[in-house]
């Protein structure tokens, strides 16, 4: 392709000589092949890297006194219960059998108008703050390094006093993807504080009578 062999003219007279062939090898197909291979390897190596989601659990200490446990305000608490067949239930506050009536379980799902709406509603102030900060960076009004921005967002989350404290409780029949989904939902909605904890006996009872 890259080579046009020009026939030599004006040498008609004289003896017949065997035709001279060019000794050059056309490298173009080889280059094509190499290009393909390189693109293939570059693409496959760049995408095979796995992504991870980091989750830190509270330390389990048998010697810890009950009194030492952090007190969380009932008004800010949002309990999310993951049940069978990707169902989610949530209720606000505490379920204390000593203080009836027990809160009712609301059923919802993982859709956009499901649990996300509830979380955004409760976390409105912080979400707005972080979203505006990110917007400022995107539009170029604020020029800071990535790490500075991350620290700033972390600080905003830490200083937050109004957002929900989400307690994620998974039933034995829940699937692994449910828990990943819900933690992911926390990241999407910029929820500052959440924890994965066990279901207690009261909630297990509530779950039995909950609408399917």
């Amino acid at each position: 392709m890259a080579e046009i062999i020009v026939e030599e003219k004006g040498k008609k007279s004289g003896k017949r000589r065997p035709k001279k062939h060019s000794t050059r090898i056309d490298m173009t197909p080889m280059v094509d092949l190499m290009c393909l291979l390189i693109t293939f390897f570059m693409l496959t190596t760049a995408f095979s890297k796995a992504k991870v989601m980091v989750i830190t659990m509270p330390e389990k200490d048998q010697n810890q006194d009950k009194k030492d446990q952090p007190q969380i305000s009932a008004a800010r608490t949002l309990n999310i219960i993951l049940a069978e067949d990707d169902r989610i239930y949530y209720y606000k506050g505490m379920a204390d059998p000593k203080k009836p009536p027990l809160p009712t379980l609301h059923k919802t799902d993982f859709s956009k108008d499901g649990i996300r709406k509830v979380l955004l509603e409760m976390n409105k102030d912080l979400f707005k703050k972080i979203a505006e900060y990110r917007d400022k960076r995107l539009t170029g009004k604020l020029v800071v390094a990535d790490s500075t921005a991350d620290n700033e967002i972390k600080r905003m989350k830490k200083d937050d006093r109004k957002g929900p404290i989400v307690l994620i409780k998974a039933d034995e029949k829940a699937k692994y993807k449910d828990i990943v989904n819900i933690i992911d939902e926390m990241a999407i909605c910029n929820v500052a504080s959440y924890a994965v904890v066990d279901l207690n006996s009261v909630e297990l009872e509530m779950l039995k009578t909950a609408p399917k």
């Binding site: 390897f41 991870v52 659990m57 039933d171």
Partner: protein, 211 residues
């Protein structure tokens, strides 16, 4: 005066340097590429928005298949001369009174993830092909009477104390199994887990805020 004719030249471009360059690039990529290691069971990880990359070295991975089988993987560390895998197996051998020859230890160091009772480990290492190996992979036992996974985790923690823990679970695995493993890890003073996920973008903007 006759015109001076420029000699007709072939518009040939020498491709050889280009080929050389590409060869070098190709060899470089081939050598540096880390191929996806063969896994004992197909695992579809759940999607998430997390963009954090999994660490390359110093990581122990616990695989949970769809039907709740547990597999384990441990890397040789950043400096492969540390041979963490061989050390780990030697520790496990001590625990379960199985003596592995240096050759077996060395061979184990080159294998990937595994999931089988420790008593089958010798056959697993000496197996000739991957088919034979796959037949042995029945998951690591986690019963309370013989919790081998606990010993794998404990020994791995003792072998490489900087190793992080990654959990690669199938989306459809039971939470019960995952919970059991997390509890087990917490007993061994691991409180930070990396859950392996597949990246899926999801954006929520100010417009989505409920009024």
């Amino acid at each position: 005066m006759p015109k001076i004719k420029a000699p007709v030249r072939s518009p040939h471009i020498d491709m050889t340097p280009m080929v050389d360059l590409f060869s070098v690039l190709l060899i470089f990529l081939l050598l540096t590429a880390s191929f996806r290691p063969q896994e004992a069971a197909p695992i579809t990880t759940p999607p998430s928005v997390s963009e954090k990359q999994a660490p390359d070295n110093d990581i122990m991975t616990i695989f949970i298949s769809k039907d709740g089988l547990i597999f384990f993987n441990f890397d040789n560390g950043k400096d492969t001369s540390t041979h963490f895998r061989s050390k780990l197996l030697a520790k496990m051998g001590e625990q379960y009174k199985i003596t592995f020859t240096p050759k077996e230890l060395d061979k184990f160091g080159k294998l990937a993830s595994f999931g089988l009772p420790i008593k089958d480990m010798k056959t697993f290492i000496n197996a000739q092909d991957s088919k034979e190996r796959d037949a042995l992979q029945k998951g690591i036992p986690t019963d309370s009477t013989d919790n081998q996974l606990a010993w794998w985790i404990r020994s791995a923690r003792l072998t490489n104390q900087f190793a992080e823990v990654a959990i690669k679970g199938d989306g459809d695995a039971q939470y019960k199994v995952v919970k059991k493993i997390m509890d087990l890890l917490q007993e061994n003073k691991v409180n930070k887990f990396n859950l392996v996920t597949t990246l899926m973008k999801e954006e929520v903007t100010l417009k989505d805020l409920p009024k």
